[in-house]
């Protein structure tokens, strides 16, 4: 299952909290033209650096599929930052 929702939370020095919920699939659909260009650029880079393009695509896909469940949270004093992938 690809990531569905990325949550970003932050708390600044002033104590103000910000929360962003990023729905991955709609964002990917909106950015799909750019994504296509990025994939093409990546394939060209693979050919230039003599990396197996199929293996690279498979590897990136496996990393994406394994992302759900990841969480990174850091707090220091009054500031805090959290990224969570579901």
């Amino acid at each position: 299952m690809i990531p569905q929702l990325v949550t970003v939370r932050s708390r600044g020095r002033d104590g103000r909290r910000r929360r962003f919920f990023i729905p991955v699939l709609p964002v990917l659909l909106v950015l799909s033209p750019l994504l296509l260009l990025a994939v093409l650029a990546g394939l060209v880079a693979c050919v230039v650096f003599r990396i197996n393009p199929g293996g690279a695509l498979r590897g990136v896909g496996q990393v994406l599929l394994a992302l759900p469940g990841s969480q990174f949270e850091i707090e220091e004093g009054r500031t805090a930052f959290l990224v969570s992938v579901r």
Binding site: G59, V63, A66, L67, G69, Q71, F72, G77, R78
Partner: protein
């Protein structure tokens, strides 16, 4: 093999008991001490967790990182795509920096085995400045 079972087999080898008696004794021991569950039946951990609680740097600090083990495996598989030329250059720089590690000798299978056994690892560091915990859950 536990000690009692070994003693029964020893007595059988020395001819003090017959094969039937040994079998009955081993059966009785097995009933008293059931075999532990097979290693494959235990629940495999899914995440590597790093927790840091620190009182340094002005205010209290906290780091909480949860990484799926599957993500580590996928990352390790990506390393197999690094071209040999690049590995050679990295090795050269490592040698110049006084780190004699040959990355070409590091096989993806070895790295995967390392991740396979990460679930047995627990690191717990307690100090007046803070606490660090690394474990799988």
């Amino acid at each position: 093999m536990n000690e009692q079972r070994r003693q029964v087999l020893q007595m059988l080898a020395e001819g003090k008991i017959t094969a039937d008696e040994a079998e009955r004794l081993i059966d009785a021991l097995a009933r008293e001490q059931p075999e532990p569950a097979a290693p494959g039946s235990k629940v495999r951990p899914k995440y590597l967790r790093v927790l840091v609680n620190s009182t340094e740097l002005g205010g209290p600090g906290k780091v909480n990182v949860r990484v799926p083990l599957q993500l580590l495996r996928a990352g390790v598989r990506l390393t197999s795509l690094i071209p040999q030329d690049a590995l050679g250059q990295v090795n050269l720089q490592l040698h110049r920096s006084g780190v004699p590690i040959d990355l070409t000798q590091l096989k993806p299978q070895q790295l995967e085995d390392l991740i396979e056994h990460l679930d047995d690892i627990t690191v717990d560091v307690d100090s007046p400045e803070g606490k660090v915990q690394v474990f799988c859950e």
